[in-house]
Amino acid sequence: MTGFFDGLPADVLATWVAAILTIVVAGGLLGERRAFGWSQHLLAGLATGFLALLAIREVIVPRLIEPLLADPGSRVDLWVGLGLVGLAAGSPWLPRSLTAFPISVALGSLAAFALGGAIVGTVLPQLATIIARPDAGPAGTVIAVASAVVSALVLTSFLHGGKRGRLIGWAHDTGRWLLIAGLGGWLGYLLFSRLVLLLDRIGFLLGDWMGIGL
């Protein structure tokens, strides 16, 4: 659909708004800062409004207020949760020993979920894949060993402090270079990803907005 040539009025309006904002943001790339700054404020405001709407409509009302209003006595878990939220929200005025509790629970839960999942879902299956490859030929074995060596060297690069022997020092430096090479490779992927985003916007302006090449 092209906003220039067909579509419902709402579609036309949406396409024009999107096109103008795209041009404003692209203007930031070319040095036009005032309108670009204004568009950043608009984005922040819209994102905040959307988050608030989402929190109220899809979390607070259906998952907290409605169950509590429907049967206040049976949802002890929600009352406890609400109490912890209240403690966290009142942290500027309440004693630290009280407010530390909900924050500790949140951080501890986060770490437990992440750590447990990483071990069960990533570390053990990946180790099993490296150690026991049912169809591993010579090339597969070499790749698996190389992967293990690279992983060990990069882990060694995180060693800090204390005395290091010559071998550990070499492993530390090699691991650091491998880490930098990995970051460089990831930067390449990131650049590719952003290039696709830029192309998508150019395609939107030329195709959807101006109707060229359709």
Partner: protein
């Protein structure tokens, strides 16, 4: 900085945008169109879908981010259209606000494009908590808007009823989170992941280990899959894919800029070392 250099730096972004725009308008050479292969990404996705029973339950985790969604959007639309054409009953959930915003747009588009009349799409909405949410959903899912039989099964077994899991990932929540938190708890059903290119190094080991059955992680993989699937290109799968000629031009320009920056640091250092100067 000289005036000439300053002018060149200011003009460079305009030149980049103009070059990409011209490349976008030119017809795409035939050599840039990827051919679907049996063992390739497209083949893996199709093979995974072919193994499903009739009217399978497909759980879709939808958490892309605005910054990377354009490179996945054509694939996501094609995949959703193919699932609907195969009669899948789709249960879809978002764990991030950004994913929820993009999902609402996609659901609106599906509705406007007239998805098949008997299509079942159960929207579980936004579930906060990411890892904790996935653990909770693995046990039980409240889906009051779902058809009665599906709602009963979801309440009893959670995501465990999935015949297939499709994860559309982004930078915050992606296939890794699902592999770590959900799959071990629901019996590891077949899983297809669609992710941005930046996540490729992180996700390829999961494909190697068999934890992901198929991964579409680059626009080229996506183009190959779209060429193989091609369901109803004028309907619910309609989209403008990434122009591969413009992409190629952009990559060549990026390599040129990086090479110039690298040479700008290395060449003076080499000249200095020849003259005996310390760097």
């Amino acid at each position: 900085m000289s005036d000439r250099l300053g002018l060149a730096l200011r003009a460079a972004p305009i030149g980049l945008v103009l070059a990409l725009g011209v490349a976008w308008l030119l017809p795409e050479p035939a050599g840039l169109s990827p051919e679907p292969r049996d063992g390739g990404t497209a083949g893996r996705v199709t093979a995974t879908l072919d193994e499903l029973d009739e009217s399978p339950v497909v759980v879709v985790g939808f958490d892309p981010d605005v910054g990377t969604y354009p490179e996945m959007r054509p694939v996501v639309r094609t995949l959703l259209a193919e699932l609907l054409e195969r009669g899948a009953r789709i249960v879809i959930v978002s764990l991030t606000p950004e994913g929820r915003a993009l999902l609402l747009a996609e659901l609106g588009r599906l509705e406007a494009a007239a998805a098949p009349g008997d299509a079942t799409i159960v929207d579980l909405g936004f579930v906060p908590g990411v890892e904790a949410a996935l653990v909770s959903l693995s046990r039980s899912v409240a889906a009051p808007n779902a058809p009665a039989d599906l709602a009963t099964r979801l309440a009893a077994s959670g995501l465990g009823i999935a015949d297939l899991i499709v994860v559309v990932g982004g930078n915050d929540v992606g296939p890794r989170t699902w592999v770590e938190q959900a799959l071990p708890r629901v019996g590891s059903p077949p899983t297809i992941a669609v992710a941005p290119t930046t996540l490729l190094p992180e996700l390829l080991p999961y494909v190697e280990s068999g934890q992901l059955d198929a991964l579409i992680g680059t626009p080229i993989d996506g183009a190959a899959y779209r060429a193989a699937a091609d369901p109803d290109p004028a309907g619910v799968a309609a989209d403008r894919p990434v122009d591969r000629l413009a992409l190629l031009v952009g990559v060549i320009m990026a390599i040129g800029v990086l090479g110039q920056a690298f040479a700008g640091r290395v060449v003076p250092a080499l000249r200095g070392s020849r003259r005996g100067e310390r760097p």
